[in-house]
């Protein structure tokens, strides 16, 4: 590619991090920030030890325990394996001089919440983490993607990763978001349109007028679920909203570096006429509040819709897959989505565990009670999100409504800790995956926005926020 041909945001970050283009067609890409957590790192550190390799640049890595930590009574982790795993991370980071946010540190939280919160995540960076939802950080215009444990070891040892360039895909959403429609609905709608493999091999850049006014929190929700569309990364061009969010955060550039950084960040947005391998344009008026009915994030329908009929499927494979999902979910085709009764509500995760999400939920449940048969749990995305919510009095509103108020972590998004669904329990969840068994064996997950989940908690069944008062 010549230097003056128009480039996408992805192209610019890529070429700026290219250490070596190798003869075998692979590229060695420099990694600016590596985030590490307890579940996907022990075997990587073990690998380094076996090969007597040091961590090449410890200051480029930050570690935190989030996936496998309890959300209450966590002074002493009861589960032995979980305790050992968390302790192993503490030991490994100490041995290699890597910064580690302990469980008792107020900055502890979900790795994809704390990166942005601390200002670690910055435009134009390359970032990796042994977690697929690393795509979240793309909201800042950082090229951020999930990697496996062998690659975690590779990055620790060399501060680089072996890659082939991804293809560019642009999804433009234009127009104001209709009443009741959030960025969660927008991304669920997109996944429904392109499918869970629709972004395979691509990095998705989200653009269009609908995104311009969105807060960083909302943008993160969109990029977060890029992986559910099969893309390794999502990207949004940095702008004034991005810069304002970062200014003054602990790890953000300061003094003379701040202006230098702004100048660089301002050069990143895609050039006019840059080439995209795939393009999709969406008119925001098409989008309604969305809910998943099945066991794949592409199984979405408008909240005002019906559980689908397998016989309407275009292919035999799709028909079988709908039948299997309906059987697992215990649903009959033709049922109104708003007639689906719920047992649990989970508010949290790297998708929707930020302060803005908690504010929305609180505003909906204020002076109301959740339905008597429903259990509601709120897990703030980080210790700082929790403190902020408590400062604003949100915890009181939420507890008065009947929600459990927990400590920060991934919690029931993946249910590695004790927060799980029982078989056949049905949950409205603000998380990102409704896979079979994801939130607990036999558990039934309906993904939705925090607003819909909050209204559904009060109603006791899935609620359409547009009819809710």
């Amino acid at each position: 590619m010549s230097t003056d041909s128009p480039k996408t945001l992805f192209d610019k970050i890529w070429s700026d991090h290219l250490v070596k283009q190798r003869d075998d067609g692979t590229s060695l890409l420099y990694i600016d920030k590596h985030l590490v957590h307890e579940v996907t790192s022990p075997q990587a550190f073990e690998g380094l030890k076996i090969a007597s390799r040091p961590v090449r640049r410890p200051s480029a890595t930050v570690a935190v325990a989030d996936h496998n930590v309890p959300t209450f009574n966590r002074e002493n982790i009861e589960d032995e394996q979980s305790r050992i795993q968390v302790q192993t991370l503490a030991n490994n980071t100490k041995e290699h001089g890597i910064e580690y946010f302990e469980l008792s540190d107020k900055r502890q939280g979900i790795v994809h919440i704390i990166g942005p919160e601390q200002g670690i995540t910055q435009p134009g960076m390359t970032m990796v983490c042994g977690d697929s939802h690393t795509s979240t950080h793309g909201a800042f215009g950082a090229l951020a993607f999930g990697i496996g444990t062998s690659e975690v070891e590779h990055v620790l040892a060399t501060q680089t990763i072996v890659q082939k360039p991804a293809k560019n895909m642009r999804i433009s959403v234009n127009g104001d978001l209709p009443f009741g429609v959030t960025s969660k609905d927008l991304i669920l709608y997109i996944i429904g349109q392109i499918g869970t493999a629709g972004g395979n091999g691509h990095v998705i850049e989200y653009a269009g007028s609908s995104l311009k006014p969105l807060s960083m929190e909302s943008r993160m929700t969109i990029c977060n679920m890029s992986i559910e569309a099969g893309a390794r990364a999502g990207l949004i061009s940095p702008d004034q909203i991005t810069f304002d969010y970062l200014k003054g955060r602990p790890y953000a550039p300061t003094d003379e570096h701040w202006q230098q950084a702004i100048d660089y960040w301002s050069s990143l947005p895609s050039d006019t006429d840059a080439f995209y391998d795939k393009e999709l344009v969406i008119n925001s008026s098409e989008i309604a509040p969305m809910v998943t009915w099945g066991t794949s994030p592409e199984d979405v329908v408008a909240v005002s819709g019906l559980v689908p009929d397998p016989s309407s499927a275009k292919t035999e494979n799709k028909k079988k897959s709908i039948e299997r999902s309906l059987d697992y979910m215990g649903l009959k085709s033709g049922t109104k989505i708003t007639d689906i009764k719920l047992d649990k509500i989970f508010i949290g995760s790297c998708t929707n565990g930020r302060i803005e999400d908690l504010r929305s939920v609180a505003s909906i449940v204020k002076n109301k009670k959740i339905a008597p048969h429903v259990e509601g749990m709120i897990v703030p995305g980080s210790g700082l999100v929790k403190l902020q919510a408590e400062e604003e009095g949100l915890d009181v509103i939420l507890k008065d409504a009947g929600f459990d108020w927990r400590e920060a972590g991934c919690s029931m998004c993946l249910g590695m800790n004790p927060d799980q669904l029982k078989p056949e329990e049905r949950c409205a969840s603000t998380s990102n995956r409704n896979f079979e068994g994801r939130q607990g064996r036999g558990g039934r997950t309906h993904l939705m926005s925090p607003e819909l989940a909050a209204a559904s908690a009060i109603k006791g069944s899935i609620a359409d926020i547009r009819d809710f008062d």
Binding site: H67, S82, I147, H154, T158, L414, P423, R441
Partner: protein, 203 residues
């Protein structure tokens, strides 16, 4: 890493689309700090009942498929979580080749780190191979010539040359990258000038 050159044996058919890594290895097995011992928990929820007893009708619990080294699966295999525990559990069970019409990116990469060959075939060939697998026909996978042979039929497949070479030679990526140490250092020194706020620690 184990080398992969050729592989011969029956293949287990698993005609489900979007098999995610949560299905391949559920969360409760991610608490380990080791890479080994996960084979027994592969496809746990499809393979065992609530009491932990083997479900007789699950393909990998039936003879001769419980000895399969090859898996033929539905579209978009390995989507979802980046957990490398998924390929570790497949490998530990004995599977070192997976055939599908498509794979999720991270899972696909993770396979090559563990001596597993993921093969992409067309929907037509996938259907054909799924039938051969159900009929317990012997598959022969030949990586150097990029062919799957079953019942006298040869189906070619594509693979990027660098991935092929690494599998055949059983090469360690880190070792190869470390040969570029000087380039990495040069890069850091250059970028310290351009983006000093990111490279404060680089002297």
């Amino acid at each position: 890493m184990d080398k992969f050159i050729t592989l011969k044996g029956i293949a287990a058919p698993l005609p489900i689309v979007n098999i995610d890594t949560d299905m391949i290895i559920p969360k409760q097995f991610l608490k380990t700090i080791k890479r080994t011992g996960l084979g027994i928990s592969l496809f746990y929820e499809m393979r065992y009942d609530h009491q932990g007893q083997e479900l007789k009708n699950f393909i990998l619990n039936t003879k001769p498929f419980n000895q399969s080294k090859i898996l033929v699966a539905g579209d978009n295999f390995g989507c979802g979580s980046s957990r490398e525990h998924a390929p570790w559990s497949l490998k530990d069970f004995g599977i070192s080749c997976i055939i599908s019409t498509s794979f999720a990116d991270i899972f696909y990469n993770n396979c090559f780190q563990n001596g597993i060959l993921p093969i992409v075939v067309s929907p037509e060939n996938s259907k054909k191979l799924m039938d051969f697998a159900s009929d317990q026909k012997e598959f022969e996978i030949d990586l150097p010539s990029q062919n799957i042979s079953v019942e006298g039929e040869k189906i070619g497949f594509d693979i990027e040359p660098y991935r092929k070479e690494r599998l055949i030679e059983g090469l360690d990526d880190i070792g190869i990258t470390m040969n570029y140490e000087q380039s990495i250092t040069d890069y850091e020194l250059l970028q310290k000038k351009n983006k000093p706020w990111i490279f404060k620690d680089i002297k």
